[in-house]
Symmetry: C2
Subunit: 143 residues, 2 copies
DNA sequence: CTTCGTGCAAAGTGTTTGCAAGATT
DNA sequence: AATCTTGCAAACACTTTGCACGAAG
């Protein structure tokens, strides 16, 4: 929905500047799929060693305001960022092994429609995370 | 499902001790419904001023291991604790006003069954939080 | 050359750990 | 008396802020 190349335009439209850091950080989010600020930092460092973690935080916040990325809270700890406009999905987070799986947002549609109709609550489907135990851990459970 | 009075028994069964702090902290969780460690601390302080925040963290962790409480991550920041065994529910978290609403877990049942069948993923219904915008904020939206 | 962006260092939260004093059984 | 618990202080991890230098337009 938001083409990658639009970064320059979106920035210009607001009188903001296109910098190497901003390009690298957006690219890292696109490449990584789901990534914490720490992970984005790691990826960016490989290309440009000097980039500070502070810049990662500031830029992720900026990119989110610009509508280019969004973040979700999967389990505890740091938030994870991913491209906005990309095919939205619901996250399945395994509390045993931490694996993050994705399912099509349409699976949540019936429930979302019902909540919208009955309560006026607009579920933000892209931000949903369902916690539980994945098939692999289920089998290997040592209970 | 787990009667409040069972704290003493559950502790004794494991050779652990019943202390005023543990009783107060469990009571606070029961009373507050959804509460962060910070909020539990606040509630406990009203009754026993000297209780340290460290004890709150350690005790919440213990109570969770004992199966008396569980925690969920609602939006960012601290986790919120609530009684386990209580009627489980799904949380609706408004990202505008932060309001936490609850809906019956049965609404998630169809989806949960489907995920279990198709992927072997066991959704932990009590831990689920759906993010979005509540009816009130929806109306007052200034977009 | 003007204004925005970055790096660095320091300050802030929220949470965990080590240890000795205190409480429970 | 034995050992589990707590409080306190310090350590930690993650995130934010202030400021001067550097870069983009």
């Amino acid at each position: 929905m938001v083409p990658e190349s639009s970064l320059a335009e979106v920035l210009r439209a607001r009188g903001l500047r296109l910098t190497a850091q901003r390009q690298l950080i957006l690219q890292a989010v696109l490449d990584l799929g789901h990534a914490t600020p720490e992970q984005v930092h790691g990826a960016v460092r490989k290309v440009a060693a000097g980039v500070n973690i502070t810049t990662i935080y500031r830029t992720l916040e900026l990119l989110e305001r610009l509508g280019l990325v969004t973040h979700t809270h999967l389990s505890h700890g740091s938030p994870t960022y991913h491209a906005a406009g990309e095919h939205q999905h619901v996250h399945l987070v395994c509390r045993e092994c931490g694996a993050i799986d994705e399912i099509d947002r349409e699976l949540l549609r019936p429930l979302a429609d019902r909540l919208a109709g009955e309560r006026g609550f607009q579920v933000d489907i892209g931000h949903v995370a369902l916690f539980g135990v994945c098939g692999r851990c289920e089998d290997g459970e040592r209970k």
